[in-house]
Symmetry: D4
Subunit: 248 residues, 8 copies
């Protein structure tokens, strides 16, 4: 039964007055703390623990939001795209335990849940320089209850390196392909597997790599079927989506 | 056991001579018909019936390839991005039954299989003009054994139209969001569901719609998690991927 | 009182059953005719007669939608971006009177209302080639009950032509500045008036005019305050917005 | 009566000699201080207090210009896009009282006037990171005599947050929609109200957000009518224009 | 003595009434024929015969404007960017003699004047395909009273071809360099002469020539001093400017 | 001994007068036929038969140039980027034998020479639609005396197809990699061979393939060493360069 | 008589041996100092004192080059795009007197010559922030013997400021129009004068000003004739070209 | 005989067990050190010593990889795109001798081999600022056993400088053309020689040089045949490829 219908039924039976119902419709799903409308129900609505996009927010703002979340009953929070200073501020804030994944620029409040997804997520990178984004994807997926395996520096210029991991590739439920430069990794992986490939272009490269744009365009035009793409350097998004697919 | 290992075992036991094994490694997975290397084993390797990308191929080339496929034992073929003339040529070619989906610019040889996926795929469009691309996604998904539901013209400018279908949105296993112009549909859908949203930017719009580029960029920057993107007007890719996810 | 509150009250008092209320929330604001969800309440919700974006819709689809609108009680319809063939189809469709504005590529069902806005809208063009877009803006504004004056071919290369109309410029409530090429008209107008200037870049020009992109960028960077911009060749949008401002 | 006509009459009646008139035409409307032609009459010509664009000007230049303005009788000045160093210089300059809005990077000389506009301006942001640009819009509007209300962090990914403020949205005379990333906020707001929406794309985001370009393009292609756009991060321009519309 | 001053003197002496003077200021410099404000005084103000930009104007509009010009006393008119149909219409229009330069897409009413410039203008092209744009420049310059010499197909890939014309290059007063593809001609010419080089990028080329954009960028970044650039394919602009410089 | 030195020696010994020498320096290397400076010595200077870029030249111009070449003693001519009409005109022109390669849009006057290069050139395509550009490369290379082998439709999405031709790849002296869409073929080939790979991006693809730009960018950013790139669809350039390398 | 001819004559008469002549052809026009080929004859060949592009060269390299120039007899040198550190190094280098124009980032060795051009060059800016680029143009022009007048902060948003300087504008021989943002200044100036306008787009602005690209595009599409454009922020190029035109 | 075939033979003869063979196929060609799959066989497969792309890798990662290489028997390593800090770390790492080429940002472990290529590679730059990229190419080529000659600052603006080196240009086996700004050097060199020209666009320039994009586009559109292009500032790639060609 949808929420709206349930509410209407409660109004009819008198369980809720009209004004109370109206109030509930308007105010319950989030907490207004001025600088943010903190979403307390997303874990119900979206089946996920809460995530804060850390870039562009001050340390103070992030701490305020995590506090509101905690007070709202949410004890698992992932904070993305933070730097050392913000991590330090979160570490010293009271009331929670905090781990900082420096390479991935991620902060985590609360423990990782037991993996309960369908299978394994495989995170693959073209080169060594793509590892930070891959880590962002891997930590995000683990945070949302997935088993994750990583395979780094197997770019297509030495195709034999990639081919020697065919078994792992075949066994994964979802693959996250992280690559900069010409981003060809996604196409080759897409041709080797019959599972979804989530391609993450990275800003690794120079000149006409255009900060990841070339990898992005390359991935969007993959001649392999089953490949979809997220924003440049969006390791979080790929890890989140991979986890979602792994839990269908 | 991997194919390579099995082959090596057969070589050892004498079942295969070295040259035969080498030959097999090299020649079996496809048929070389000059203009194309027709892939006869992809349905084994990728778990999918065969697909031909029709654009840039002549009617003759397409017919040659379908013939080679049929002779190779493949009786279900999807041909994408064809026009009326190519459809006509395929219709009159001997040896197969052919259906043409004009709006979707798709041709199908063979019947649709019984849906055997996990749930339902929901294909949603922002406007009426996005329907052809949505149909491409829907037919592709049905061709690969999925149940598909369509919801057209529910763009965000009249958000109440979209919200009145909340139930369908909640129930889908995967959502394909097809929209041109500013492409905001993907973000709103992404916020309403906890299932993967595959966003298809369309070339609907004018001026700074830039043939779908604006919708693409908008979708890549979706503030909702769980959204990934395929190429502009790539209804096929979205339908294929949705089916893949629905069969994990 | 908001609509939601009113509905809830009716549920409480028993005027509406829960299911009826739910139905109303979901189905009333539009008519689902398959290819489109026809919005019958926008004139209540947005204070405007109904508008159909004609590009990318077939003649049949447009006629179906206008018919649904007419049956829903809406007797004034504006159809944008149509060509001669679609205009012909609409002309011969039964049940309505239809006028076609060829230059502006607009079709109108129903009469223009009496102007009831605050003042006059002035539509200005840089050159003769910009007139079709200007006409689109002017007809749209008249359709929504505004008095409109037009001033064509007063581009900044001969600044004396523009300056000789200072009085009309000063007297307008809102100005729509339509220009291609370098689009400087918007800046000069913005400096001469203290009323809002809605800038419409046009695709007039060649080479690095880039189909209106240069005019668009120029207008977005206007050194005059009070200038805002709509999409390239979006005469409709400018006329609609000008009318909105003129009716505040 | 226009200024030119009045002058010509004075010449005829002998009140002014030809040379005096010529001089007046040429020199009166501004003060030439070398580095700038300080406009002393804009508040007559444009109905606004004076504004200085602070970026690219040195502290010395800004102080020189404000001094010239003050000596020309202008006691309300808004200085945009300044940093802490320039704010400090302005604070310690003699002869005026100065307030600095750090987040908005604005400096104000003189008090805000009593609001005398038609209604309320509503400034809405998609996220917390958009607040500085929103504040620039809000302070600018207040500086020009408008009542302003702010609604922050109600982006479309959690559409329920936005919908719970429907009443405020409906009541505003003009809405300023401030958003980065995919900028879908403007479209959804445009669909909910029948008042003008001024969209401000912000540079919030990363990768293909392209420093606000994606939000800009998205807003220009809004499928909702009544939306116009200003330059990326141009909170000032939006606040100024909103005030202009609120005073028609 | 400036026009404004003369007018003011006439008002003072009573030669003109105030209203007459005002009228003159406003209406004399052009003729308003609805679709255009035809400029009758530009040949006084700008020292040039009149030019009509033919693209985007209908045959009827062009004929109306030339008629208004002729009635206003202007007997030399250049019409740019016309096609065969418009040329035919102009040819058959009464009251003037008309020549059509098909390759250059130019029409001319009236005879070329005797050349009275300082020296010779040299128009150079990189290849054969650039000739139409070069002809547009050459005819335009001749129309404005200049002696013009042409040197075609001397692109830099065979530098010896260009170097064998060093004398002509040295003797020219102004050089118009017309080239597509990589546009290197302008740089090499700029290094060989101490006279201004006006570079005209053409849309000759394919792929990453991007319709002339590459040539344009190349010319803007010329390592030779003395090179300036006009719009892609703007032979008219280059010929006009060359003539202007040749008459200083 | 350089040409310049030889000439100077001849002047010294009296074999040539000063004016004759000057004349020779200036006029000999090409024939001026007005629309073109026909290069008669390039086959000496560049070691190649003559090539005419056919696009943007009329049939008449091409015939005039081939006639001048033939009269200048050049009996092998390659004409690129022609269409059926131009081919027809060349076929019927007197004095030469002409073959037309329709798919490659190439015309050839004269026979192919015996291959005298070092080894074999291998031309590889990603798909069937890339064949025309590959043919342009192959014919060009054969025209310049090279042995050429072709391998079509071995794109990276089915990497096994490509890998089964490892021997041919290993044996080639130079490889021309022709691919559209994401252009990953060049990288994979570059990783498999230690010979130069000339990458030709093609305009095959749609949407964000951007007419070959994506393939171009991808190839420029190849993570494999030994890959260089030519313009989009520039099969001629690749074939020419491959032949050059094969003849070092 | 050309240089080549003179040399050949000297060879014939025995004044020069063949080898000496060859040597002269090769080595005289410049001095090879390893890091640079210092051009000692450009002031003969191009009629200008020598200019060094300072960006991307180290202080040491610049000093080496100026020393080579001085030793080659060149006593007037302009060094562009230097910073304080390089200026300091040049100041303390022995053997020359050096002045540094900080705002313009220019260094000058030697005195300005007496102006000997035809008339006055007028340098105009849209705003205060454009002054550094304008100063670069002005100093460059003075360095090459021109009289220069400057008119700053007369952008088109307050068109009356610009119009009050009509006399100066009319009297100039060449105008340099320096503007960022929307760059409309060039068009308005182009419409007011019959002399060449050299437009210099500046990187002043933000967001979609795109570092001067918008101003550049706007200037290239000027609806006024007689406008040509140089690279963004290229004050030097504009000043140099203006001086060239002023000396024809 | 291919590696796969040899392996299969060994399996047949019993020299290798199936599992050993499988292991070899999978693990031998590289060493997995976690952060990288270190390629130990590339010098066999690609005929080159090993190269590490230094950008985006930490000093620690680079040292780990060089250690693995050394232990794998590779005693010649080139590390590209490193800075002073990484160079310092490599210098102090034990077990190898290390030289740092600061301008070229290259580090070299091991001695240069004796040149054994066919002829000489000529590296040419347009200006002094292009030297670092040219040095990267030169050192790379020498590292791979080539004789290299350099010719700096011979850009096309003073074409006589370039022409005086015609002999060197004619004698080279391969030419590397390094230029920024408008990149015309490649075209002129391509026209002077009949050997391959590898064009390297550099990021030298400002404004519309767009960090090397203009030079790149210019080089891709070279009207001279025999020119191919590598990524912006990719001196390494050009030097590597030049060496490859020089060793065919």
């Amino acid at each position: 039964m949808t929420d709206t219908k349930k509410l209407l039924e409660q109004v009819k039976t008198g369980e809720l007055s009209v004004d109370e119902a109206l109030l509930q419709l308007k105010t319950k799903p989030f907490e207004d703390i001025g600088i943010a409308k903190v979403d307390l129900h997303r874990n119900i609505r979206q089946g996920a623990a809460e995530v804060i996009y850390g870039e562009g927010k001050t340390s103070e703002q992030i701490c305020e939001i995590t506090k509101a979340l905690r007070e709202g009953g949410c004890d698992k929070v992932l904070i993305t795209r933070i730097d050392d200073a913000k991590a330090e501020a979160l570490k010293t804030a009271e009331g929670h335990v905090f781990r900082y994944y420096e390479a991935a620029r991620l902060g985590v409040i609360g423990d990782f849940p037991e993996p309960d997804g369908k299978g394994k997520i495989l995170v693959v990178t073209g080169g060594t320089s793509d590892i930070p984004i891959a880590e962002e994807a891997a930590v995000t997926a683990r945070f949302h209850g997935n088993e994750v395996e990583c395979l780094y520096d197997v770019g297509v210029a030495g195709i034999h390196r990639l081919l020697s991991y065919t078994e792992q590739i075949m066994e994964a439920t979802v693959i996250v392909a992280v690559a900069g430069m010409e981003g060809a990794l996604a196409s080759v992986l897409g041709g080797l597997t019959d599972k979804p490939v989530i391609a993450v272009p990275t800003s690794v490269g120079y000149g006409t790599a255009f900060g990841g744009l070339t990898a992005l365009l390359s991935m969007l035009n993959s001649c392999a079927s089953g490949v979809s793409v997220v924003n440049i350097d969006n390791g979080f998004g790929a890890g989140y989506l991979a986890g979602m697919i792994n839990h269908i």
